[in-house]
């Protein structure tokens, strides 16, 4: 796999450390009543076969956190954005 880092250009996959599903959202509250949301966030995963947004750290490059959109069956990469842009886009209406 080749990953196109927004800062460094196209780089080999071994420069990146993957860290799972980027679509899960950390609950805003620490209230014990939100424990179901926390359980969801920490443990449950959609684990899709197909298109998947995942965190990737460019650990042997610019060290930026990225979100890679990839097909989990074909390994084809559709899109790479910074985690910051991904988060901003998510909270936008």
């Amino acid at each position: 796999m080749l990953v196109k880092c927004p800062h460094c250009g196209t780089r080999p996959v071994e420069e990146f450390t993957f860290n799972g599903d980027a679509s899960v959202q950390r609950p805003a509250s620490n209230d014990p009543k939100s424990m179901d949301q926390w359980f969801d966030y920490v443990y449950l995963r959609d684990n899709p076969k197909g298109r998947f947004d995942e965190y990737a750290h460019h650990s042997s490059g610019c060290r930026a956190w990225l979100v890679v959109t990839r097909d989990t069956q074909s390994h084809e990469i559709f899109n790479v954005v910074t985690a910051r842009d991904y988060a901003k886009k998510r909270v936008a209406p």
């Binding site: 080999p12 799972g20 969801d40 443990y43 449950l44 995963r45 684990n47 076969k49 990839r70 074909s74």
Partner: protein, 416 residues
């Protein structure tokens, strides 16, 4: 037909042309008492023990491809019971005991070979951790021997004892561990289940699960609707996909793990050796090929093939452990899809849906567990409640905070 020296002689006289098929190829019936989704090792073992131990033989095993086409035919064939935590070790030791009597039990040669599993240690703290693990094993009645460097050298003189980064300080040996002919496990269980009346239906993909008022009614398949009273999921890497058909979201991610085999060599490694620092493990098959593997690739995947960086990493670790491997050529590599759970331990349990049972989350350690997994899952399905041996493998343990985190990595499936 019982396989024996007499059946062998009889069939030799007829030129081996009259052996009956080892199992039938039945059409699916309209409904069954129990349907198992997944015709791999765990699904077939479950059907076998349902029929043999619990007398439930109106059972179908549905396999979307051919029998044993998944991880039971893709693993590195190692069996061991060298776990540490109380929820794990009695279960894996029961599996080892079932392996020890398996061939007589299902009348099939699975080539169970207790050739010993040796884990190497490379630092003093790692040796301390191994001593602790060995003691935990012995408390549960499992054999474990802590070896010093010279004892390891007697066994495997060709290891790189003076590796600058990971010098070998000793190891922990489980002599009862070893290897099993993996395909024969699937075949033996299939034949044993089939002869007790279980229908094994291949090329039958489940496309939907029908539930009414929170109770399982049956499954939609590529060969029509099949009704059932109870439904067991044993779909390994595809567990999330199958569970989603019943509206369940699992604490599981699917990852790809690669394995390798070298060209055939003369007898070289007579046991299983694992390189504790680099996560590399190797044994030699009876054909002479070195069978080895390492870590998962590290990213979610449903592709049964990995990428080259992990191939390079595994082979580097192998050469660091056994410098002589540098001259061996790799013949084949392949990948399998692992159902990586959030604590590195499996799930064998009921689900919130009445009549739906789950067997998943085996990470990359499912093969050694095959007999006990089938045995416990059959018990759980037949009795409607877990056996003492799988009592810790509950689906709700994550919510309750009762994880069985053997590696202490937390909820990071790609690190287990």
């Amino acid at each position: 037909m019982k396989y024996s020296v007499f059946s062998l002689l009889k069939n030799t006289l007829s030129g081996h042309k009259k052996w009956p098929a080892a199992w039938r190829d039945p059409q699916p019936k309209q409904d069954y008492d129990v349907i198992i989704i997944g015709g791999g090792g765990h699904g077939l073992a479950t059907a076998y023990y349902l029929a043999k131990v619990h007398g439930i033989s109106n059972v179908a095993v549905l396999e979307k491809s051919w029998l044993g086409s998944g991880n039971v035919g893709r693993n590195t064939t190692i069996i061991r019971s060298n776990y540490m935590l109380p929820g794990n070790n009695p279960f894996y030791e029961w599996s080892m005991k079932l392996w020890e009597g398996l061939e007589q039990d299902f009348n099939f040669n699975a080539m169970v070979s207790q050739r010993g599993v040796l884990n190497l240690c490379h630092t003093d703290p790692q040796r301390d951790a191994f001593a602790r693990r060995g003691n935990a094993m012995r408390i549960d009645g499992v054999d474990a021997e802590l070896l010093d460097r010279e004892r390891v050298r007697e066994m495997y003189p060709f290891l790189d004892f003076n590796n600058a980064r990971f010098p070998i300080k000793g190891g922990i040996l489980q002599r009862r561990g070893g290897t099993v002919r993996h395909d024969a496990v699937a075949w033996g269980y299939a034949r044993g289940a089939d002869s007790r009346g279980v229908d094994i239906i291949q090329n039958c993909e489940v496309t939907g699960i029908k539930t009414v008022k929170g109770k399982v009614m049956g499954v939609q398949t590529s060969r029509g609707f099949i009704g059932c009273k109870k439904l067991g999921l044993a779909a390994a890497g595809n567990s999330s996909e199958v569970a989603a058909m019943a509206g369940l979201k699992l604490p599981i991610e699917s990852h790809v793990l690669q394995a390798f085999v070298s060209e055939g060599l003369k007898p070289y490694i007579d046991g299983v050796v694992t390189f504790g620092a680099g996560h590399f493990y190797v044994s030699q098959s009876d054909k002479g090929g070195l069978v080895f593997g390492g870590d998962i690739d590290g990213y979610n995947s449903y592709a049964r093939r990995g990428n080259l960086p992990m191939v390079e990493h595994v082979i580097e670790a192998g050469v660091a452990m056994i410098p002589g491997l540098a001259r061996v050529r790799v013949l084949r590599s392949w990948g399998g899809i692992m159902d990586m759970s959030m604590d590195g331990s499996p799930i064998i349990d009921r689900t919130p849906i009445d009549g739906l049972y789950l067997n998943a989350g085996w990470c990359y350690g499912g093969f050694k567990a095959t007999p006990a997994s089938g045995w416990c899952f059959a018990h759980t399905i037949a009795k409607g409640a877990p056996h003492k041996l799988n009592a810790a493998y509950r689906l709700d343990r994550f919510r309750r905070g009762c994880m069985i985190d053997e590696k202490g990595q937390g909820a990071s499936p790609n690190l287990h």
